[in-house]
Symmetry: C2
Subunit: 363 residues, 2 copies
């Protein structure tokens, strides 16, 4: 077995999920993630955790959902499993990213709704999502298999401790700041972050971070004004969306356009009132990710990028008891800041052309 699979498992169990002896751990294994499951099992055995393996197959889910009459019930046995769990590790990596493409949206939604309680039980644990590089994911990324393996392990096998320290600098700037401004081609946008707390998303539950890889610092902005251009292409609801331009006034999108996928963009913005407001501002700081692969797990963490999400804000960014922007959607869009760009906090430049203030000492 590729030694990097063992390293991936060790990072997941020890750095990300902080599993300790006697923890009840559920590992959910996608069809193609067998090898990572074996490596994770060895780590869990070594730690002395109690392990239960779930099979997370999209083909199985599709068969079940399509055959069902649509009146889904809550799986109270699965709920009991997660309610007794301390940690949930989700090992993504199927054999076909379109495996359940023909499940009607309505059926999918009904099934998701019935699983709401189970999902909440998972979220109440120290859960972490990661992916095992499969041929199917390589294909989605438009990459050769070995090339994609290198890509995934470059992103996952970081010196997370060092990156967490680095990201702490950005968190401090955002926590102490009141206003963020981003300037680049077709972009000059300002937003308030006063009173909000940034999350140092260092791929560990110890940092309120539940993705491996991670490597972003994010907060929940408000009072947004100006225009922003997202030049990183993405797939939203199965449709390619490219070169999105949004104009904000009084915190709300008042105008939008896209070179491709403008209809889908409009649909998303029309979901509800909160869908026209920002829920997140994130700064990608994982320089192990050096290209876009049309997977948000990787793209939004890429170094030299900034992303903003329309829709729901995360509680972790808000003062205790306060509710942020609410919406049924949370859709991230990414802009490349590696060239001809600057981000200011309270009028001081903190990032210029992808380089941070503490790296270069620029004023």
């Amino acid at each position: 077995m590729d030694e990097r699979i063992h390293e991936h498992a060790a990072v997941l169990v020890n750095w990300s999920a902080r599993v300790s002896e006697g923890d009840n751990v559920v590992v959910s294994v996608d069809e193609g993630a067998h090898d990572l499951a074996v490596a994770v099992a060895a780590e869990l055995g070594d730690v002395g955790a109690n392990m239960s393996m779930q099979y997370g197959s999209s083909e199985v889910g599709r068969a079940y959902t399509k055959a069902h009459d649509g009146e889904f019930e809550e799986s109270t046995h699965e709920l009991a499993l997660y309610e007794e769990s301390d940690v949930v590790l989700r090992l993504g990596g199927g054999r076909n990213t379109s495996a359940d493409a023909d499940v009607p949206a309505e059926t999918r939604q009904a099934s998701m709704q019935a699983a709401q309680g189970v999902r909440e039980a998972v979220m109440a644990t120290d859960w972490v999502s990661t992916v095992h590089p499969t041929r199917s994911l390589a294909q989605q990324a438009g990459m050769a298999y070995e090339e994609y393996q290198d890509f995934v392990y470059d992103a996952v096998l970081r010196d997370w401790e060092a990156l967490a320290d680095e990201m702490a600098k950005m968190k401090t700037i955002l926590d102490e700041g009141s206003e963020v401004r981003l300037v680049k081609e077709n972009t000059d946008i300002t937003m308030s972050i006063e009173g909000r707390t940034a999350v140092n998303s260092a791929a560990s539950v110890a940092y309120d971070s539940h993705n491996l890889p991670s490597g972003e610092v994010f907060t929940a902005p408000y009072d947004v004004a100006g225009e922003v251009f997202f030049d990183v292409p993405m797939t939203l609801r199965g449709t390619r969306v490219q070169n999105v331009h949004l104009t904000f006034e009084d915190g709300e999108v008042i105008d939008y356009s896209a070179d491709q996928g403008e209809d889908v963009l409009g649909e998303i913005l029309d979901t509800d009132k909160g869908a026209r407001r920002l829920g997140e501002l994130g700064i990608g700081m994982n320089r192990g990710i050096d290209r876009f692969t049309d997977s948000i797990l990787f793209d939004e963490k890429m170094g030299d990028t900034v992303h903003m999400a329309v829709g729901r804000a995360y509680d972790a960014n808000l003062p205790e008891g306060e509710t942020g922007n609410d919406s049924a959607v949370h859709v991230d869009m990414i802009t490349d800041v590696s060239e001809d760009s600057r981000m200011e906090v309270d009028g001081e430049v903190v990032q210029r052309n992808g380089v941070f203030r503490w790296e270069d000492g620029f004023e």
Copy 2:
């Protein structure tokens, strides 16, 4: 997908486990049983059951067990899952029947012991074990892959209703009888079955039967005397055992021999006091099984065979509240009765050369 996989799933869900709407069902999927899992999921969706999929990988289990320090705890989260379950379907079929061959016996035993509560919770459900034909199982059976698929489906896709009716005849004979005698080469053995209840093992929980395929009628004999020769080879504890000969006096084995594997046989008989007494007499009645494959799931159900197990008796054969032969082992051994043999109940021949009384009307 091979249409027989769908038929297998339908028999499992509807005939064997009698799953109904709203049942909480756990499906445990071995590494190689994916296709059957997909077909079972469709059946469960159709019925409207609630499904949770467990991944039953021997490679994962090996990795965990070998890395562990050996002080295993009960997995209370998995216990909660099974305690809230109505049905457990175990889909066997790995990719290597020796996948965990290098786990030390002691570690394996410690791990099994910690899982005792979980196993009991499974046994308290309407559980059914079956296998999906994999290349690994074909290899173990010494058969080509397609040949083995045919073998499995011939055994599984029976007219179970008709076989249950047929087996009911044998059950009636055993329930009304007091003494069984089996006579063939090197065999003349008598045993009491007075007061014991035979199980019509028709591959359905409705018949106290938890294997698919099944197709045997079994009871718990006592007061065994005489000699018996088991000419069907088997693998016990990884060792080939062939041509076992046992001599009984006052219910106990007083002498034994085997052409091959006599040491292992001796070890088994020396386990405890109950290991020298019979726990089961079974009559194989599944004529869809036409050859030995060194898998007890199939071999003991084969038509024209009789098997006896030394060790533990099943409660289902005993009057309410009575305990039968007790032992840590239950080891089945099989004798071919297709030629030069007869089985008598209370002096009347009920099976001669594999043919039953009601088939031939012989006296």
